[in-house]
C-alpha cells in the first residue's frame, strides 16, 4: 500500500518537477500512535470500503445502463416506473448497513469521551497565535510559538519555504509527554475559539474562551507528532502549529526535572550591549508582537497601528513600559514579559522597524513601572 502511494505521488512529482527529498506524503488518514487513533483508522477504512462497495454497485449499474440502454443502439425504452418490492429492499438494506456502522462508531465515541482515571493533566490554552501549556501536576508552564525560521520565512516575500526545516510545523518549545500514560487535556482559550489537533493522537478539540473542554490520550510510541490549529482564529490561524514529543518515562522525568529548574531560575538581568539588546529584542518581537504589528512594524491599515514612526514607541521609555504592561482594549497586556525581555523588545522597536531613537534601556532599569501615559484612550488603565 505504502509503495503504491509513494509510486503514484512520485509520478506526480516528476511531472511537476519539485524536489521529493524532505516531503512526507500521505493519501490516506494516518493510523496514529494511540489505541483510539487506531480504532478511528480502522473505522475509517471500514466505512471507506463500504462506501467504495456501494459506489461500485451503483455506478456499475448506472454505467452498464448508460452503455447498453442507449437510443443509438436501438434500445426501446421500457415504461415501468414503480416497484414496491425493490424500493423496500433498497430502503432496508442501507438501514441495516448503517446500523452495522453505528455499533463500532458508538464504541469509539464512548472511548473518546472517557477521561476518567487519567494519570496527569495538561491545560492547553489557545491564544492568538500560539499555544500555552500548563502541567497541572508539576507547575511546568510555557508558551509554544511557531519557530523563528518559519516565522520569518512566511512573512518575507520571496523566501523559499522549502529551505525551512518543518516549515510551519515547528515550534520553539514543544509539548513533552510521557508514553503509555493516560493524559487528560483541559482546553480553553483566552481570546477567540481555537482547536487543538494532532492527527497522530486521533482527535481535535475546540478551545473555547470561558469554557473548558476535556480530552485524553495515551501515546504508545515515543516520537515527535505534529499538528495545527483547526479553527479559524484570525489572520495568523495558519501559523500556530502544535508539536508533541512523546518520551519514555525516564526521559520524561529528566525533562521535567530540567524544565522545572529552568523555570525557577531568575531571569538574567545583567547589562547587555546595544546590539545584543536589539538582537534579543527581535526574538521577543517575533514571538509576541509580529502577529499584529507585522514584520516591518507597519501594522494593518485601519485595524492595527504601526510601530514605525509611532510617537508611543519613539516617545518616553517609561510610558512605553507602562503601556506594554497594561495593554489596551485592543492590545493584550504584556505583563508576562520579564524585565530583560521588556528591555530588549523596547530597545528593538525604538531602534529598528524604521525607528532610530538611538537609546537603549537595560533590564535593571525597567522597574519600578508606572503608567503616566497621557493617551486619552488609555487614561484609566493601570499598570499591574
Amino acid at each position: 500500500m505504502n509503495k503504491i502511494k509513494k509510486l503514484s505521488v512520485g509520478v506526480t512529482l516528476m511531472t511537476i518537477g519539485q524536489q521529493a527529498a524532505h516531503a512526507d506524503y500521505a493519501l490516506n488518514l494516518m493510523q496514529g500512535v494511540t489505541k483510539v487513533s487506531h480504532d478511528i483508522y480502522d473505522l475509517h477504512m471500514l466505512i471507506l470500503w463500504i462506501c467504495v462497495f456501494i459506489g461500485v454497485g451503483v455506478f456499475g449499474t448506472m454505467f452498464y445502463s448508460i452503455y447498453h440502454h442507449r437510443k443509438s443502439k436501438g434500445h426501446q425504452a421500457a415504461q415501468f416506473h414503480e416497484n414496491t418490492t425493490v424500493e423496500i429492499i433498497w430502503t432496508i438494506i442501507p438501514t441495516l448497513i448503517l446500523v452495522g456502522m453505528a455499533i463500532p462508531a458508538t464504541k469509539t465515541t464512548l472511548e473518546l469521551a472517557d477521561v476518567q482515571q487519567s494519570e496527569m493533566t495538561i491545560q492547553v490554552t489557545g491564544k492568538q497565535w500560539y499555544w500555552d501549556y500548563k502541567y497541572l501536576n508539576n507547575d511546568i508552564h510555557f508558551e509554544s510559538h511557531l519557530d523563528e525560521a518559519s516565522e520569518i520565512a512566511h512573512r518575507t516575500k520571496g523566501a523559499d519555504p522549502r529551505s525551512v526545516k518543518n516549515y510551519l510545523l515547528e515550534v520553539d518549545k514543544p509539548l513533552v509527554i510521557p508514553v503509555k500514560t493516560k493524559i487528560r487535556f483541559v482546553l480553553t482559550s483566552s481570546d477567540v475559539i481555537h482547536s487543538w489537533w494532532v492527527p497522530d493522537l486521533g482527535w481535535k478539540k475546540d478551545a473555547n474562551p470561558g469554557f473548558i473542554n476535556e480530552a485524553w490520550t495515551s501515546v504508545d510510541k515515543a516520537g515527535t507528532y505534529r499538528g495545527q490549529c483547526t479553527e479559524l482564529c484570525g489572520r495568523d490561524h495558519g501559523f500556530m502549529p502544535i508539536v508533541v514529543i512523546a518520551m519514555e518515562q525516564p526521559d520524561y522525568d529528566a525533562w521535567v526535572k530540567k524544565t522545572s529548574e529552568q523555570q525557577k531560575q531568575k531571569p538574567d538581568l545583567s547589562n547587555q550591549s546595544h546590539d545584543q539588546l536589539v538582537a534579543h529584542g527581535k526574538s521577543v518581537y517575533l514571538k509576541n508582537c509580529v502577529g499584529c504589528h507585522q514584520i516591518e512594524g507597519t501594522g494593518v491599515t485601519g485595524l492595527i497601528p504601526a510601530i514605525t514612526a509611532s510617537p508611543k514607541v519613539t516617545g518616553g521609555i517609561d510610558p512605553l513600559i507602562g503601556f506594554l504592561q497594561a495593554g489596551t482594549s485592543k492590545m493584550p497586556a504584556f505583563s508576562k514579559l520579564k524585565d530583560n525581555e521588556l528591555a530588549e523588545v523596547i530597545t528593538y522597536i525604538r531602534n529598528d522597524l524604521g525607528n532610530k531613537v538611538g537609546d537603549e534601556i537595560q533590564p535593571d532599569k525597567i522597574t519600578p513601572v508606572y503608567d503616566d501615559d497621557n493617551d486619552e484612550d488609555d487614561k484609566n488603565k493601570v499598570a499591574p
Binding site: 500521505a26 459506489g55 455506478f59 445502463s65 443509438s72 473542554n213
Partner: protein, 547 residues
C-alpha cells in the same frame, strides 16, 4: 396532448398584442412578469457565479505553492468568507429562485406567480443585499474575514473584522427578507394557482422540491437573521449573548447558526434533486422511477435537516449523549438520499438514453453528488469527524455536493430550458466541450483535497507545510481549468439568446418531453404571457396507472 397545445395557441393569438413587455430598461426594473423576473434572477446569479469564482481563483492562486505569494492572510480570509457568501446567497440560491420563477408557473399551468409585485421586490432586495455585502470589499479595513459562519468571538474582534460587520449583518437581513418573500410567493403559487386538474401528487418533482425548500427557507432564514442580530447587539450595544465574560456562550452561536446552516445546505440541494428528476426521465425516455418515494424522500430529508445541526460541531465539546444522538440522526439521512440515487439509476435503467449536454451534466451530478454523499456519511460518524473536521476532507466533501451537484445541475437546467425560453438551440458541440472540461477539471480540483485533508491539512489557511505542496498545486491547476471552462457557458448563454445555431426548435425541444411536463406544450420561445386560461389536461406520465 395536442388538443391542449392547440387550445392554448388560440388563446395566445388573441391576447398577446396588448400584453407585451414594457419597452426599454424600465421593463426590467418595474417588471412583475415571472419570466422577466426569472431572467433577472438567473443573469444576476450568473454574474455572481463569476464574482465568487474570481475569489476562488485568488484562493487557488495563493495556495498554488507554499509561502505567501499574492495576498495577505487577512485578505485571504476575506476571500474564503466572501467566496462562500457570494456563492451561497448570490449565485446558487438566486439561480434556483430564477428557475422557480420561470418554471413553476409554466409547469403547473398558472399565468404568473401568485404575488407578482412582491416577486419584483424580492429580486431587488437581493441585489441591494449583495451590493451591501460587496461594498465591504472597498473598505479600508476589508471585507468580513471570520469565515462565512461568522463565529464569535472572532467576528466581533476589533483587530480582525473592521467596519464590515454591520454591513454584512444588514446584508444578511436584506437577503433573508428577499428569500422569505420569494418562498412565500412560491408556496402561494403552488397551493393556489395549479391547473384545476393538477393534484399535488401530479406536480412535477421540481415543483415538489421547491415547495419543500420554500418551507425550509421560511423556517430558517429568520433564525439566521436573529443570530447575526445578536452579533450586532453584542458588538455595539454591550449585550453578552456570546461573550463568556458577560455570562454568554460562544458555542450558543454555533448551535443557532447551524440550526439555520444545515437546512440551508438542503435549500441548495433539494431544488437540485428536483431538476435532476426532471431532466433524467426526458433523456431516458421513461417516466421517473418511484415518483411517490421521491416526494417522500425529499420531505424526510427536509424534516431531518432540522434535527442534525450539531454534526457541524462534533469537536466543540458536546456531552457524549449529544454526539451519539446527532451521529445517529445524521446517518439516517443517508437512507432517503440513497433512495433518490437508486431511483435516478432505475429511471435510466432500460431507457432509451441519449446524451445531450443537459443529460451529461445530470449523469455527472448523480455520480459526483453520490461521492460527496458517501464522504458525508463518513463524517457523520462522530469519532471519524474528530479527524476530518475542519480539514480539506470537509472542503472536498461540501464542494462535491455543491459544485458538481448544484452548479452542474444549474448548468444542465440552462442547457435544458434555454431553447424553450429563447426559441433558439444552443451549440451542442460547445456544450459538450464545456461539459467534458468541467467534469474532468472539477475532479482535478476537488479530488486531491480528500488526500490533503486526510494527510492533515486544515482548512482556511493561506499557507501550508511542504508535504501538502504537490496536491495543492494539482488542485489549483484543476481550479484554473474549471474557472476558465465556465467562460464557455457564458459564451453559450449569450450566443443562444442571440440566435444560437439558428435551428428552429419545436415546442417539445426534446423528443417526447411534453409527456413529462406542461411547459413543453407551450410554443418555443414561450410567449410573454402563458396559461391565461389553465390547461385542462396535465401530463401525468409518472402516475399513469392511477389515472
Amino acid at each position: 396532448m395536442s388538443a391542449v397545445v392547440a387550445e392554448h395557441d388560440d388563446h395566445h393569438a388573441d391576447e398577446h398584442h396588448d400584453h407585451g413587455p414594457a419597452k426599454g430598461l424600465l421593463r426590467w426594473i418595474i417588471t412583475t412578469n415571472h419570466k422577466d423576473i426569472g431572467t433577472l434572477y438567473l443573469l444576476f446569479a450568473l454574474a455572481m457565479f463569476f464574482v465568487g469564482g474570481a475569489m476562488a481563483m485568488v484562493i487557488r492562486a495563493e495556495l498554488f505553492e507554499p509561502g505567501l505569494q499574492f495576498v495577505d492572510p487577512a485578505f485571504f480570509n476575506s476571500m474564503t468568507t466572501m467566496h462562500a457568501l457570494v456563492m451561497v446567497f448570490g449565485a446558487v440560491m438566486p439561480a434556483f429562485v430564477g428557475l422557480a420563477n420561470w418554471q413553476i408557473p409554466m409547469m403547473i399551468g398558472a399565468p404568473d406567480m401568485a404575488l407578482p409585485r412582491m416577486n419584483n421586490m424580492s429580486f431587488w432586495l437581493l441585489v441591494a443585499g449583495v451590493l451591501l455585502l460587496a461594498s465591504t470589499l472597498l473598505m479600508e479595513t476589508g471585507a468580513p474575514n471570520a469565515g462565512w459562519t461568522f463565529y464569535p468571538p472572532l467576528v466581533l474582534q476589533p483587530i480582525t473584522v473592521g467596519k464590515a460587520l454591520p454591513f454584512a449583518v444588514f446584508a444578511v437581513h436584506l437577503l433573508g427578507i428577499s428569500s422569505i418573500m420569494g418562498a412565500i410567493n412560491i408556496i402561494a403559487t403552488i397551493f393556489n394557482m395549479r391547473a384545476p386538474s393538477m393534484k399535488m401528487m401530479d406536480m412535477p418533482l421540481f415543483v415538489w422540491t421547491w415547495l419543500i425548500t420554500a418551507f425550509l427557507l421560511i423556517a430558517v432564514m429568520p433564525v439566521f437573521a436573529g443570530a447575526v442580530t445578536m452579533l450586532l447587539t453584542d458588538k455595539f450595544f454591550h449585550t453578552s449573548f456570546f461573550n463568556a465574560a458577560g455570562g454568554g456562550d460562544p458555542v450558543l452561536y454555533q448551535h443557532i447558526f447551524w440550526f439555520f446552516g444545515h437546512p440551508e445546505v438542503y435549500i441548495m440541494i433539494l431544488p437540485t434533486f428536483g431538476v435532476a428528476s426532471t431532466i433524467i426521465p426526458v433523456f431516458a425516455r421513461k417516466p421517473l422511477f418511484g415518483y411517490a418515494s421521491m416526494v417522500w424522500a425529499t420531505g424526510s430529508i427536509a424534516f431531518f435537516s432540522f434535527i442534525v445541526w450539531a454534526h457541524h460541531m462534533f469537536t466543540v465539546g458536546m456531552p457524549m449523549a449529544g454526539e451519539l444522538y446527532f451521529m445517529y440522526a445524521t446517518m439516517i439521512i443517508a437512507v432517503p438520499t440513497g433512495v433518490k440515487v437508486f431511483n435516478w439509476t432505475a429511471t435510466m435503467w432500460k431507457g432509451a438514453m441519449t446524451f445531450e449536454t443537459p443529460m451529461l451534466f445530470s449523469i455527472a451530478f448523480v455520480v459526483l453528488f453520490t461521492m460527496g454523499g458517501l464522504t458525508g456519511l463518513m463524517m457523520a460518524l462522530a469519532p471519524l469527524d474528530f479527524q476530518y473536521h475542519d480539514t480539506y476532507f470537509i472542503v472536498a466533501h461540501f464542494h462535491y455536493t455543491l459544485v458538481p451537484a448544484s452548479i452542474f445541475i444549474l448548468m444542465a437546467a440552462g442547457y435544458f430550458w434555454l431553447p424553450k425560453w429563447t426559441g433558439h438551440m444552443y451549440n451542442e458541440k460547445i456544450g459538450q466541450l464545456h461539459f467534458w472540461l468541467s467534469a474532468i477539471s472539477v475532479n482535478i480540483l476537488f479530488f486531491p483535497q480528500h488526500f490533503l485533508g486526510l494527510a492533515g491539512m486544515p482548512r482556511r489557511i493561506p499557507d501550508y507545510a511542504i508535504q501538502f505542496a504537490d496536491w495543492n498545486m494539482v488542485s489549483s491547476i484543476g481550479g484554473f481549468i474549471f474557472g476558465l471552462s465556465q467562460l464557455l457557458f457564458l459564451y453559450i448563454v449569450i450566443d443562444t439568446i442571440r440566435g444560437g445555431t439558428g435551428e428552429k426548435v419545436t415546442a417539445e425541444v426534446w423528443e417526447g418531453s411534453s409527456n413529462h411536463s406542461l411547459e413543453w406544450t407551450l410554443p418555443s420561445p414561450v410567449p410573454y404571457h402563458t396559461w391565461t386560461t389553465p390547461p385542462t389536461v396535465v401530463p401525468t406520465e409518472h402516475v399513469l396507472d392511477s389515472h
